[in-house]
């Protein structure tokens, strides 16, 4: 089975990739763009029967940095 973890930077913290991309899109003429934020996803394939809690634990321990990031776990 497979889970996907989506990680985003906590609101209010610098997101240079997002800021730069928003500026680049505006420069290219995409005036409808108001804000861009970057996130990352981690796709994890695990043996069947692995619980969401287990993935959540991996996130807390290793995959996300609680100081600056939020995450959500979804089965896919």
């Amino acid at each position: 089975m497979r889970y996907v973890v989506s990680i985003t930077r906590k609101a209010g913290l610098a997101d240079p990739e997002g800021t730069t991309t928003a500026a680049a899109l505006t420069n290219l003429g995409y005036r409808e763009v108001r804000d861009v934020h970057f996130g990352r996803t981690i796709h994890i394939e695990v043996t069947d029967g692995t619980s969401t809690e287990r993935i959540d634990e991996m996130c807390r321990i290793l995959l996300a940095n609680p100081v600056i990031e939020d995450y959500i776990v979804e089965e896919v």
Binding site: K10, N65, V67
Partner: protein, 224 residues
């Protein structure tokens, strides 16, 4: 062993730190990250590089190396622990220092000399310096942009734990131009720039020496 210089897979500044500390009379020893014993060490340096390729997040995987338990023990006992660049990022990930670093403001790697202002001398890294000193030291990182929740930054500032700040231009967008910080005890310190790269005249600057000398000076003499 006087100072342990820890080598993780992907670390690349270990020989440089070894070289610079040796010039200052310290007795550094390279230690592999899977070693579990630092009982002979009176201080530790986590040098720069790309431990575990900087994959996932800088310092994230390294923090779980077996040796980090010993680093945490030494830090708790008040021994000097210094993280340079990638080593600084590991100390943040391990919770020994607050905050984290993200991509530079301009999204490009920066390798050049920058000016740093010494803003506190209450740390193992700045004890021998003078507040207001301007140090010319190379910065060498892609993810050197220091960030922390606002409350955390306020605490760092009010407790005088920002020890080094970029002077003049802020090269990477770091919050409050922070280049180096310390813990409450002053014995754990981290900075993004590389003092070992400014430790000999032929390298163009010796301004890193005062920092490394502070560190070496804070080490206990080797037990007889």
């Amino acid at each position: 062993m006087h100072v342990a210089v820890v080598v993780f897979p992907g670390t690349n500044c270990e020989h440089d730190v070894d070289h610079a500390l040796s010039l200052l009379g310290a007795e550094p020893e390279l230690v592999w990250h899977r070693d579990v014993d630092l009982s002979g060490a009176t201080g530790v340096v986590l040098p720069g590089g790309f431990a575990h390729g900087d994959y996932l997040r800088t310092g994230a995987i390294a923090r779980f190396s077996p040796i980090m338990k010993e680093v945490e023990r030494l830090a708790a006992e008040g021994a000097p622990v210094l993280g340079i660049c990638n080593g600084f990022q590991m100390l943040c990930e391990a919770g020994l220092l607050p905050g984290a670093t993200v991509a530079n403001r301009d999204l490009s790697f920066i390798c050049r000399h920058v000016d740093l202002e010494v803003t506190s001398t209450k740390s193992i890294l700045t004890a021998n310096a003078t507040i207001g000193d301007i140090l010319h030291i190379p910065l060498n990182s892609y993810e050197g942009n220091f960030v922390a929740p606002e409350s955390e930054v306020a605490i760092l500032e009010s407790e005088g734990r920002v020890i080094l700040r970029y002077h003049g231009e802020n090269p990477n967008g770091s919050t409050n131009s922070i280049a180096g910080i310390t813990n409450r005890g002053g014995n754990v310190a981290g900075l993004m720039p590389h003092p070992e790269r400014a430790s000999e005249d032929v390298l163009g600057s010796i301004d890193g020496r005062v920092l490394l000398e502070s560190f070496v000076g804070s080490l206990e003499p080797v037990p007889a």
